[in-house]
């Protein structure tokens, strides 16, 4: 199972030529970051989160941007389906596994771009982390995105092109708010709910400076559970879609 480098490259190119990707995955989070974190530049304990506002919001908006990038990256399968492209690809030696792997890889590449953009923005607002902490944070974000990659693939097989935008936008907005992207959720019922969501744990990657306990057992459990459930959902959606032909 080897991926076609050319196929990956042009899939990435297609993504980069897509204006919507720049707006929702890069531009939007970046502008909002400066709008929200700028005035709160000197807040050291943002909403009882225990970390500074620039750091918290940097990870929060990176979570938002990457969520968008990864979910819509998978959901773009719906686009391929709508023009009969998945059928065309089935007439090539490309295996379904490689097709999905390429989609995920490209999603992750674009997610990484969002992380880098937000990271640089964070640095300009005074975020300082050790190399090890940066690495750990990025690693946690990438792992935390796995359920979203599966979600994207499931949506890509279930949705039509018309419902794609609203569904992906609405879902990521909701998961962002409930996961504490914009403001930390620290108590009460909302906190309990938030802890059950994968988006919450993406944002919790901001706690890397507190001694490698950003997630803890609960975080790993929730992320793993969502990954398993959504992967099963994606597999089901894929089979349902391809059997119909």
């Amino acid at each position: 199972m080897t991926l076609s480098v050319t196929y990956v490259r042009y899939e990435l190119l297609r993504m980069l030529r897509n204006r919507r990707f720049f707006i929702f995955s890069l531009g939007f989070p970046l502008v909002l970051y400066f709008l929200i974190a700028g005035p709160n530049k000197n807040v050291n304990d943002f909403g009882d989160s225990g970390v500074s506002a620039p750091l918290y919001l940097m990870v929060g908006l990176a979570a938002f941007g990457t969520m968008n990038a990864v979910v819509s990256g998978g959901a773009r399968i719906a686009l391929d389906r709508s023009v009969g492209w998945t059928r065309q690809l089935r007439l090539t030696p490309l295996t379904p596994g490689n097709y999905l792997a390429t989609k995920i890889l490209v999603s992750y590449m674009t997610a990484l771009m969002a992380i880098v953009v937000l990271g640089v923005a964070g640095a300009t607002l005074g975020v300082r982390l050790s190399v090890a902490n940066w690495a750990e944070m990025i690693a946690l974000l990438l792992v935390g995105l796995l359920p979203f990659a599966a979600l994207g693939i499931a949506l890509g097989h279930l949705l039509t092109v018309d419902s794609l935008g609203p569904a992906v936008g609405g879902l990521t907005a909701l998961l962002s708010i409930l996961g504490g992207v914009w403001f930390p959720i620290t108590g009460g019922f909302l906190h309990l709910l938030a802890q059950a969501l994968p988006s919450y744990w993406l944002v919790q990657a901001c706690h890397v400076a507190s001694g490698g306990k950003a997630w803890g057992a609960l975080g790993w459990f929730v992320v793993t559970a969502w990954t398993v459930v959504l992967t099963a959902a994606a597999a089901w959606a894929y089979r349902r879609d391809t059997q119909r032909v």
Binding site: S4, V83, G84, Q88
Partner: protein
């Protein structure tokens, strides 16, 4: 597998689909074998089962019964080896890439693709190489899809109604390219509902209707069969059996005061008819429409089955 394995071997293919009004039997037992190097038209009216047959042949649909083999192996294996290029009836192109990029992407999925510029040249779209795919006309899109089918330099080329979106000029250019490709000893199977296309570009036609093979033979044979003309005349009290013996007449039937003659040679038949029956009037000669001929042929098929 031996060298002599047929390029296409369909045996007893059956496929039905669920629909709100009960199952639709799209294909009911199709047997077709195509030798390497043959150019074959899959001919039939809309809804005859052509596309379903092609989907099964390419492994896009699983048959309910029967088996499909390409060059002695399963469709998926033949496709994985880059032996098959196909142009499906429906389908568009990926947006946000140029024609050259798109064909390159597809080529990259094969072990030994041909040079992209060469393929674009071959299909006559070199001038479109750097155009974004969403800015192409329907005919241009079809040509790009043709280029995609050719990028693996396939042994077998499968085309499902390839000229549907093309204008007359585009059609002509398309078939010229196809002929040229076929002349290199490649196997081509194309579906069409135009008898003229089958006649002009294929060596052999497989006529299917209602999910079955009705006739399979040289295109000249098919043309003779469906190219019948019909003479209607008012001729009270005539004996159909006698009429059927007239030169150029294949069959005759009486319908009240009228008679209907199916003719292989309507000119000879008219002369003979008027000579033998000077009081025949209201003569009407019509070329049997293709659809009509199909129905006629399938009716015979059904009758044979019932017997």
């Amino acid at each position: 597998m031996s060298i002599a394995a047929p390029a296409v071997d369909l045996r007893g293919i059956e496929k039905s689909f669920r629909s709100p009004t009960g199952p639709v039997h799209a294909v009911r037992g199709i047997d077709v074998s195509i030798a390497p190097g043959e150019v074959v038209a899959l001919l039939g009216p809309n809804g005859a089962g052509k596309s379903t047959t092609i989907d099964v042949l390419l492994g896009l649909a699983k048959p309910d019964g029967g088996s499909a083999a390409l060059f002695g192996r399963g469709p998926a294996a033949a496709i994985a080896e880059g032996m098959v290029g196909a142009m499906l009836q429906t389908g568009s192109l990926l947006r946000d890439l140029t024609v050259h990029e798109l064909v390159t992407v597809i080529g990259s999925l094969y072990r030994s693709p041909v040079d992209v510029d060469e393929v674009l040249e071959q299909v006559g779209i070199s001038g479109l190489a750097h155009r974004r795919t969403q800015k192409l006309s329907g005919g241009e899109t079809q040509r790009v899809r043709f280029a995609i089918a050719l990028v693996t330099s396939p042994q077998l080329l499968v085309l499902d109604e390839p000229t549907a979106a093309m204008d007359v000029e585009g059609r002509h250019a398309f078939w010229t390219t196809m002929r040229e490709y076929a002349s290199r000893g490649r196997t081509v199977l194309f579906a069409t509902h135009y008898l003229e296309e089958a006649d002009a570009y294929a060596d052999r036609a497989v006529l299917i209707a209602r999910g079955r093979v009705v006739v399979d033979g040289p295109t000249t044979e098919i043309k003779a069969m469906v190219g019948l003309r019909t003479i209607r005349a008012t001729l009270p009290g005539a004996d159909p059996a006698a009429l059927a013996r007239l030169p150029g007449v294949k069959s005759a039937e009486g319908r009240g005061d009228a008679v209907v003659l199916r003719c292989t040679d309507s000119d000879a038949a008219v002369r003979a008819l008027l000579q033998a029956y000077p009081d025949a009037r209201d003569l009407e000669i019509t070329g049997a429409g293709f659809e009509e001929a199909f129905l006629e042929l399938t009716r015979e098929e059904n009758a044979v089955e019932a017997a």
